[in-house]
């Protein structure tokens, strides 16, 4: 059986507590507002609000730092294609670089084809077109030729190679050689 303690509300501790609690009184404005039924706005606890505001700012700053760090880390993972890896000017330079142009650019962008003023050879982005040859018509020429192709004459029979005997060696092509054909 539990030995229940004897309670006396008027012991020394009770007197001390009643004395301490008797100084706790509600604000008169609050009491009169409740009596009259008018809503009373609680006083703002400035220290608490300042602390909460500081906490909110700190948490927001941490979020922003984590976000920036995440983006930076992701750009590092992606290499030069990341948003922080190359500046916009570098990106535009890289796009205009002829070495980086694609086949699609070559076939669609006709304005980049120019002509060398000295040799009249076609240039593509300032570089001679390796497919150009003066005797071979370009693929851009009209399909039907404006002039007939030049007639090719039969080649004239060439004279046989002069038989020049060497002084210190026998004639490699003697006339009695059955394989000799003048």
């Amino acid at each position: 059986m539990l030995n229940e303690p004897k309670l006396n509300p008027n012991d020394s501790l009770g007197v001390l507590l009643r004395s301490a609690y008797s100084k706790m009184n509600p604000p008169p404005a609050l009491e009169s507002a409740v009596i009259s039924g008018i809503p009373y706005a609680p006083r703002a606890n400035t220290a608490l609000h300042v602390r909460r505001f500081a906490k909110a700012i700190a948490s927001y700053a941490i979020c922003v730092i984590l976000l920036i760090g995440g983006v930076y880390f992701a750009s590092e993972l992606m290499g030069e294609t990341g948003p922080f890896a190359t500046s916009p000017s570098e990106v535009s330079t890289a796009v205009s670089d002829p070495d980086l142009t694609t086949d699609a650019d070559i076939t669609t962008d006709s304005k980049k084809t120019t002509t060398n003023p000295k040799t009249k050879e076609p240039l593509y982005n300032g570089v001679p077109d390796v497919t150009y040859h003066p005797d071979i018509p370009s693929v851009n020429y009209p399909a039907t030729p404006t002039a007939p192709f030049p007639t090719v004459k039969d080649p004239t029979p060439q004279s046989p190679t002069p038989d020049i005997p060497r002084p210190n060696s026998p004639n490699p092509w003697p006339s009695n050689n059955p394989w000799y054909y003048p």
Partner: protein
């Protein structure tokens, strides 16, 4: 409906300190105590409530105050409480009573409320047990432990109680 202004006036003046002490002791914040104080009387006045006796009304008001305190503190953004020094500063008490208040406010709520209800608000042990929704035996054990803890804390601030 409490249509009479005198009724409201007398009831508020009778229980004003009780509600305020419980609210401030439980929430440990003055702005929270103001809100709880206001809500407790707002719950009491708009409706015609039948009470068997004045003790019944007092127990209902104390119970409602405790419920309002718990509801107020249940919101996470309101759960932050002031330190004991800040609470004592807001009360503006003499040095000795400030030490007593610091000692009792430093107790856990499960020991602080029984001591306050029994010694300060004048409820009997059974009434306190009903208001706190605990068994009378549990209430007596908490009172005993709370007294021991409070005496130890009062010794720390130089107040010796028999």
């Amino acid at each position: 409906m409490y249509t009479s202004q005198d009724d409201r006036d007398s009831i508020v003046k009778l229980y004003s300190q009780t509600v305020w002490r419980i609210a401030l002791s439980h929430t440990r914040r003055e702005d929270a105590a103001e809100e709880v104080y206001q809500e407790t009387f707002m719950r009491l006045f708009p409706k015609e409530r039948e009470f068997d006796s004045e003790e019944h009304r007092k127990a209902w008001i104390i119970r409602t105050t405790l419920i309002c305190c718990k509801r107020y503190l249940s919101a996470s953004f309101r759960s932050e409480t002031l330190s004991l020094e800040e609470v004592s500063d807001t009360l503006i008490l003499p040095e000795e009573e400030s030490g007593v208040m610091q000692a009792i406010l430093s107790l856990p709520a499960k020991y602080r409320l029984p001591l306050q209800l029994y010694y300060v608000e004048g409820l009997t042990a059974d009434e306190c047990a009903k208001v706190l929704e605990i068994r009378p035996v549990t209430f007596r054990v908490r009172i005993s432990r709370g007294k021991t803890m409070l005496k130890e804390k009062l010794k720390g601030v130089g107040i010796y109680v028999e």
